[in-house]
């Protein structure tokens, strides 16, 4: 049972992490370069127009390996959220802060590490929250339709065997995972974004 749960959760988190890196990079690129945005936004919009279940069918037809199929489905379904959150997050950085940091003449890498990525933390955490539920649904759907392992596969087996108790137990496992991970994100946000841990206060 633990192996089944672990496998599904690793699939969700690895695919989400890959999407996070890819979506954030593309979002930052789109925010900083108009030409990149002109190319990327229509592609994202095109993707948005295709129903999620169609991507599952495409993944089954296009790819052989189970893991590749699941990764493709999660990436394609969660990429727009990371992309738009990153793009709009960069655009929301105050011009005053851009000017202040630029006045010290940083390199591009420094601009990214000192200003852009820290400023994006709140919006990217929101994207993680939004995508966590979505990615879980997509992975379970993929496992359910085309899997031979994982929680989705177990749900399909429960359905085939008319085991309601088993179906409810696996559903509870999924809900608990999403809630626990959301709490982890909340704790991370509290620690890194708001700096609530600092004790010093102005009189």
């Amino acid at each position: 049972m633990l192996a089944t749960i672990g496998l599904t959760f690793i699939r969700i988190l690895v695919a989400l992490f890959v999407t996070f890196v890819l979506g954030t990079a593309l979002g930052i690129l789109a925010a900083l370069h108009v030409r990149a945005e002109r190319v990327l936004v229509p592609l994202i919009q095109l993707k948005q127009g295709v129903p999620g279940v169609c991507w599952v069918i495409f993944a089954i037809l296009w790819f052989q390996g189970m893991e590749t199929r699941i990764a493709f489905i999660v990436i394609i379904s969660t990429l727009p959220s990371f992309f738009y959150q990153a793009r709009d997050g960069v655009r929301a950085i105050s011009q005053d802060l851009w000017a202040m940091v630029r006045a010290w003449r940083p390199s591009r890498a420094q601009m990214l590490s000192k200003l852009i990525l820290p400023a994006l933390k709140p919006t990217l955490l929101t994207a993680w929250r939004i995508n966590l539920g979505g990615a879980t649904r997509m992975v379970i759907t993929a496992e359910l339709l085309a899997g031979v392992s994982g929680v989705g596969y177990q749900l399909r087996a429960a359905q085939e065997q008319f085991r309601m108790d088993s179906a409810i137990a696996w559903t509870v496992v999924l809900v608990v995972f999403v809630l626990v991970f959301d709490q982890v994100l909340t704790a991370f946000e509290r620690h890194l974004v708001h700096g609530k841990s600092a004790s010093a206060r102005a009189p």
């Binding site: 000017a99 202040m100 630029r102 003449r105 600092a198 102005a202």
Partner: protein, 278 residues
């Protein structure tokens, strides 16, 4: 030009124009702006709203390029030779511009991280700067946990920590209450003078300019020098105040270049201003 400018000036603006485009409209922010500031000089730039004071600061920092004319900081173009002036310019602005995700100490350390400056190369550490500016005990406080005055002090420490040669203050104390502003501007002036910094202090306050400056440049709209007053500390403040008020009341008009010899305004505008003042 200043008499002190026999040696190469720290800052040089030569016939600088700056235009902005808003749709079909062209807005002239600076028009034939010409001045030079010698090393170690504390110069206040005084002007009414919209006369291009902040544009002047942005051009000097290399954040924008002039439409025409030449700008030189220690002989180098701040926009074209952007990297060559790394660490030589420090700035404080009307808003503190502290990064909200960094503590006060981390904000002060920012220029050192960007410039890769080690503690051993500095005469005063970030920690010592905060202490010097009365922020001891608040090193680990985030900007939202500090008062407006404390945030301004942290911003001042950040501007000074990398030991820049030139300090640019753009209405840096305008948002503070009178007591905090007075204390901070005294500290800023003292630090700038003792450290031998060249200062371009942009303000719309006549009293602030009179209390701090060695020299005052008055800008008209669009940005051009309408008056260049020197040796401020040795002159009668009341008379200077009237004179500055008169210059500031001068109707906006086409650029009037200051006479490099007499430093006086061309006659018609000056006569107009004097008439108003009296």
């Amino acid at each position: 030009m200043s008499a002190a400018c026999a040696v190469p000036p720290a800052i040089l603006f030569e016939d600088v124009d700056k235009l902005f485009w808003q749709g079909d409209r062209t807005i002239s922010a600076l028009e034939h702006l010409t001045f030079a500031i010698a090393q170690g000089e504390y110069t206040c730039v005084l002007g009414r709203s919209g006369c291009g004071k902040s544009t002047t600061a942005n051009l000097l920092l290399g954040l924008e390029r002039p439409t025409a004319g030449r700008i030189a900081v220690f002989g180098q173009d701040p926009a074209d030779d952007f990297a060559q002036l790394r660490g030589r310019l420090g700035s404080i602005f009307q808003s503190d511009r502290l990064l909200p995700w960094r503590t006060a100490l981390e904000n002060v350390r920012l220029p050192l991280e960007i410039l890769h400056l080690e503690r051993s190369h500095l005469s005063t550490s970030p920690h010592e700067w905060l202490e010097r500016l009365g922020l001891q005990g608040f090193e680990s406080a985030y900007p939202h946990q500090l008062s407006g005055g404390m945030r301004s002090r942290a911003a001042l420490a950040r501007a000074l920590v990398a030991e820049p040669d030139i300090l640019i203050a753009d209405e840096a104390f305008a948002h503070l209450d009178e007591v905090s502003a007075e204390r901070l501007r005294r500290e800023f002036h003292h630090l700038a003078k003792t450290e031998g910094k060249t200062v371009l202090h942009i303000t719309h306050s006549i009293d602030e300019a009179l209390s701090l400056a060695d020299r005052i440049l008055v800008l008209g709209k669009p940005g051009h020098v309408v008056a260049d007053l020197q040796d401020i500390p040795s002159q009668d403040r009341a008379a200077l105040r009237i004179q500055l008020l008169a210059h500031l009341q001068t109707p906006h008009r086409a650029a009037l270049k200051p006479d490099p010899e007499s430093r006086a305004l061309p006659d018609p505008a000056f006569a107009e201003a004097q008439e108003w003042a009296t």
